[in-house]
């Protein structure tokens, strides 16, 4: 089995504006989706809650606050899954809540 990184790219939404009930619903979706992958014994690692603030270091020692990339999507986090091939890894990505929120999920082979 190989390992693949699933990178979540999301529109930078401010969850603090969501009502507690909405927030709960979003959290539950993530929880159940990752739980489903773990239940298949295919979760190899995770860092699924990157905070939206942070810094960027650029050439010449330039440090900026976010945004991290000049696109409307930011990296929300990632998980590492075990799969036989990229198609299977892509199947695992289905159901990821990021996609429901107009985000996308990038599936990349992970070279050990």
């Amino acid at each position: 089995m190989k390992e693949f990184v699933l990178l979540f790219r999301q529109v930078d939404t401010d969850n603090s504006q969501a009502s507690p009930a909405e927030y709960q619903t979003i959290m539950k979706k993530w929880d159940d989706w990752i739980g489903g992958i773990a239940a298949q014994g295919k979760l190899a690692g995770m860092c699924n809650r990157l905070s939206s603030e942070g810094k960027v270091l650029k050439a010449g020692g330039v440090i900026t606050e976010g945004p991290f990339v000049e696109v409307r999507e930011v990296l929300g986090g990632f998980i590492i899954v075990k799969a036989d091939n990229i198609d299977e890894a892509t199947t695992l990505a289905h159901g990821c809540p990021a996609v429901d929120c107009n985000g996308s999920i990038e599936i990349r082979p992970y070279n050990l």
Partner: protein
């Protein structure tokens, strides 16, 4: 009322682990067999003497004083002791006069038992024999009882224990509490062995209900003993105790007098032990400190939620959440199955069925039983097919009967 015989055997069981720990502490762990011999001889003498004269007012003190005499006898008579052990002890003891004097103070008993726990649960001797050794040395169970639990004979158990003790020697395991930097991971090992001991009792295939309950209570006792020391009274220790309390609370409800198992849904909750549930809540509260969430917390949380018999959506959503987290820490097929059951109760059959199909636990009868249950009402012919598959894999009569009942209910 407890018979005198039972009372004696309980006393011997409790005192065995204490006395072996104290004597081993004096002679060194490599000579643990001598400690066992001295204690066994002491018990033999006690049985003979008490039969004639009656049980003394303070039987434990009686045992300690006989053990002290027997130890002195060993010191005088045994060549090995004179030539090997005494120089060893002399090197580490300040007062050589006190060499043979055993210290049976409460504090020394406790300290020695804690050190023995760390020694027996050392990762260096990890093996299947380790559980047997823990049952013998830490809990004082007889070889007969251990053999019965493992569905084997005394000879096999004796061989296993011998090998495990041999390992204690070759790996030079010491009777000591690990240093500060190592205590975390060493404690994890101790907790793991206690957890296995508990499971040995809770899920054992032996029919002897009393024995199985004893195993569980012993595991609980060892856990509680760890809370008496600052170094080992950690959140994970308390979480494990909570978990054991919640499980043990259902001990009487989950088995009928004919030794048949009663599924959780069918249990009479009047038989649940309320006292143990309250104790579990106490330890769960104590465990909720610090930043680390480990698998014992999650399992205890799940077990706690099961102590509420009423089915509510909130309850099942919480159980599902804990299972999701538990799988991220520790995957196992049975946790994956339980998680899928919780998913059914929280999110409905359709969603659970989709997820269940992904699990593909081909040789697991619980898996096909769950599939059958999820298909029931959605596609009864597939439900039947799944149950039949489960029936063909199931091994024990109890499991087969449970599945057969489900097939009958289907038609």
């Amino acid at each position: 009322m407890q018979s005198e015989k039972e009372a004696l055997s309980n006393l011997f069981q409790t005192e065995f682990s204490k006395m072996v720990a104290v004597i081993s502490k004096r002679f060194g762990l490599p000579h643990i067999e001598i400690a066992e011999d001295i204690v066994s001889e002491t018990f033999l003498l006690a049985t003979e003497s008490w039969e004639v004269k009656g049980i003394p007012a303070n039987p434990a003190a009686w045992l300690y004083s006989v053990a002290k005499q027997k130890t002195l006898y060993y010191f005088r008579r045994n060549k090995i002791f004179n030539e090997n052990i005494i120089p060893e002890i002399k090197a580490t003891t300040e007062h050589s006069i006190e060499l043979a004097e055993l210290d049976f103070s409460q504090q020394n008993i406790k300290d020695s038992q804690l050190q023995m726990m760390f020694a027996i649960c050392s990762p260096k001797i990890a093996s299947e024999a380790q559980i047997g050794l823990a049952l013998r040395i830490l809990c004082g169970f007889g070889i007969d009882a251990i053999a019965e639990a493992f569905l084997t004979n005394k000879e096999t158990i004796n061989k296993r224990l011998f090998r495990a003790k041999e390992k204690l020697r070759t790996e030079k395991v010491q009777l000591e509490v690990p240093i500060e930097e190592q205590i975390g991971y060493r404690l994890d090992n101790v907790l793991h062995i206690i957890y296995l001991l508990f499971n040995e009792g809770y899920y054992s295939t032996t029919q002897n209900k009393v024995l199985r309950k004893d195993f569980c209570l012993e595991a609980l006792r060892l856990g509680i003993m760890l809370t008496e020391f600052k170094q080992t009274n950690q959140p994970q220790t308390n979480a494990l105790i909570a978990l054991m309390c919640f499980h043990a609370s259902r001990f009487d409800a989950r088995q009928t007098s004919n030794n048949d198992f009663v599924l959780y849904q069918n249990q009479n909750d009047n038989l649940w032990n309320k006292d143990l549930i309250e104790k579990g809540k106490y330890f769960l509260n104590v465990s909720a400190v610090g930043t680390e969430l480990n698998s014992y917390h999650l399992e205890a949380g799940i077990a706690f939620l099961h102590c509420e018999k009423k089915d509510t959506l909130e309850k099942w959503e919480n159980i599902l959440h804990y299972y999701n987290l538990l799988l991220q820490i520790n995957y196992s097929p049975s946790v994956a199955l339980n998680r899928t059951y919780a998913l059914y109760k929280a999110n409905g059959k359709q969603e659970a069925l989709i997820e269940a199909k992904k699990l593909r636990l081909e040789n697991n009868h619980f898996y096909f039983t769950l599939l059958g249950e999820l298909y029931t009402g959605i596609d009864n012919s597939k439900a039947r097919e799944s149950f039949l598959k489960a029936l063909s894999i199931a091994k024990t009569q109890t499991n087969k009967q449970t599945i057969q009942n489900k097939i009958t209910a289907l038609t």
